[in-house]
Structure formats: C-alpha cells, structure tokens
C-alpha cells in the first residue's frame, strides 16, 4: 500500500505528536510545581473540553458516512449503536470496542 507521506515526513509527524503530547503532560509541572495556582479558565477548560473533543472526534471518525446507498451508513450506524449498547450493558472497554469493530468488519467485508 502506498503511503501519502515520505518516510521523513511521517517521522516528522510522529516526532511532532510525541513532542506535543509530552508538552501537555509537562506543562503543569513547568508552570505550577513551585506553588502558584492555575488560572481558573484552564481548570474550567480542563473540565468541559474533554467531552466536547470526544464528541468532535466521533463525528470526525464518521465523516466518511454517506447516505447514498445503505452500504454507506448501515455498518457504521449498527456498529456504533452496538459499541454504545455493549458498553451501557457491561462497562467493559474491550468487549465494547472489539464487539463493535468485529461487527463492522463483518458488515463491510461480507454483507454490504
């Protein structure tokens, strides 16, 4: 399979991801380790941003869904509902993720 990026470009992307991820983990230690209080806006965003971002990412993941044919939306809808239902039922991350993914793979490979 052809990659969109050259190996050097991919490496650069990965290193940027690594540096930024480390930065989000290190910032509190850099800013507040010697006392001092984080601004309330930061604490506020730390509370309200995560659920908004996860909802954003779910929509992003489903961006390829198309309503032109059943194959374009039925597998994603069925597997998405399955993930939520399994999780509400058992609260087992692995069961929910694997159950939904296997269902999706079966649907896109075998049924539609």
């Amino acid at each position: 399979m052809n990659s969109v990026l050259s190996p050097t470009q991919a490496l650069a992307s990965i290193l940027v991801m690594a540096a930024v991820t480390f930065l989000t983990r290190a910032l509190p230690f850099l800013l507040f380790d010697r006392g001092g209080h984080p601004p309330r806006i930061v604490l506020y965003l730390g509370q309200v941003l995560p659920p908004a971002v996860i909802a954003m990412l779910i929509v992003y993941c489903l961006k390829g869904v198309s309503f032109a044919t059943p194959a374009g939306w039925v597998p994603a809808l069925a597997a998405g509902l399955t993930a939520a239902a399994l999780h509400l039922w058992k609260y087992n991350d692995l069961l929910s993720i694997f159950g939904a993914t296997v269902l999706y793979m079966v649907l896109v490979q075998g049924v539609f």
């Binding site: 991801m17 941003l49 971002v53």
Partner: protein, 233 residues
C-alpha cells in the same frame, strides 16, 4: 530492591496489561493497514505513548496532515493531561531523573493507578510508581508491535479495522456521559463538528470545529460554572 518493587507493581498493573495489549493490537493493525509496519508501530508507542492520540495519529498519517494541524489536534486530544499533572505534582516530587519519565508516561490508565494504588510495606513509593509506569508502557509497546506483526503475517483482510478508533471514542463518550452532570459540552462538540463538516468538508472540518467549540465554551462559561457550582479557589 527493584525486584521487590516490580513484584509489588506487577499485580496492580494486570488490568492495564489486558487493556493495553488489546487496544495496542488494534492500533498496530490499523497502522499496518495504512502501510506502516511493526517498526513504526513500536516507535510511535515508544516516543508518543498515548491511546487516543495515536489512534488519531493513524488518521493524520493516512491523510498526510500538515505539521501545524498535527500539532494542534494532538494538543487538543491530550488537553486533559494538564489536569492529571496538576493532581500528581506532590506524588512525584523528589523523584529526580525518573520524574521526567513519570511525566512522559502519564496516560489515563497510569494516572488512575497512581492516584489509587498504595505501595506495600517495605517498598519505596517512588520505586513502586516508577515500575507501574514502566510496566504499563511495555504492555502498550508489546500490543502495538503484536498488532502490526499480526497484520503483516496473517495477511487477513483488515478492511474496517479502523472502526476500532470510532468504538474507542464512543466508549469514552458513554463513560463521560455518565460521570458528567452537564451534557452541554458533549452536545456542543457533536453539533459544532457536524455543522463544520457540512460547511468545510471532511478534510478541513476539525480546526474550525475546534475554534467554534472553544469559543462557545468560553462564552457560556459564566452559566456553566454557576450551574455546576465549580469549586472556587
């Protein structure tokens, strides 16, 4: 000395072992399906080490996103780490060089274990924390590499394996929905992104969506903070 710390840390990390192997295998399979093999999977898990971040990373690599977008999205997906760090400042104080690794390895699961687990009698707390963190990352690397190797060797049809990312985010959303009393942020996040998808198309939707989400969250802050009665310092 260290053997004792490892023996104490390992049982605590077993649930994470199961979880990281499985989620890591799915990551390795997804990465392999876009043309990056075991070496890439292991390298990403070694230097990045973030579940949602690396899942999103697969998608960013697949579409060849520009570095600025990679940086912005990685920052936003990992924004919650800022809060983890704040509550662990005390625990890792005085760990010397190993503190750097503790900061680097602060994933959701490691954070959860560090917040709750207690070192048994005769094991130094800092050794105990360090081994929990190190064991957890070793599971994550092992899972990623296994997944990529499995994808390469078995050669089965991995079409659709990328749905693991969607399912992971749905699972997180369900957990958040139950633990948060306010659902406005989640509903806003979904709605704003749908609107941006319609307006800007699938390739350019995320940055405007993020801008709208941040703007609205800041604008509604007085109402949200009052309603919930966010603790005043």
């Amino acid at each position: 000395m260290n053997r004792k710390a490892i023996a104490a840390a390992f049982p605590v990390t077993v649930p994470v072992l199961m979880g990281y192997l499985a989620i890591g295998i799915a990551f390795g399979l997804m990465l392999q399906s876009i043309g990056y093999g075991a070496l890439w999977a292991g390298f990403m898990s070694l230097v990045i080490y973030a579940g949602s971040g690396q899942y999103l990373g697969v998608s960013l690599l697949a579409m060849g996103a520009p570095l600025t977008q990679v940086a912005l999205l990685t920052f936003i997906v990992n924004f919650r780490h800022l809060v983890y760090g704040l509550s662990l400042l005390e625990k890792v104080r005085g760990m010397g060089v190993r503190k750097l690794y503790m900061i680097f390895s602060l994933t959701d699961e490691t954070y959860a274990l560090l917040s709750s687990a207690k070192a048994p009698e005769g094991v130094r707390e800092h050794d105990f924390y360090f081994w929990i963190a190190l064991l957890n990352q070793s599971y994550w690397i092992a899972g990623s590499v296994l997944g990529a190797v499995a994808g390469q060797l078995l050669g089965f049809d991995t079409t659709g394996v990328d749905f693991a990312m969607t399912a992971l985010f749905i699972v997180i959303a369900v957990d958040q929905w139950r633990s948060y009393s306010r659902h406005l942020p989640a509903l806003l996040g979904g709605a704003a992104t749908l609107v941006c998808l319609a307006l800007f198309g699938p390739d350019n939707m995320l940055v405007p969506a993020l801008a709208v989400i941040m703007l609205v969250l800041v604008l509604v802050r007085p109402g949200l903070e009052q309603k919930k009665g966010v603790e005043r310092a």
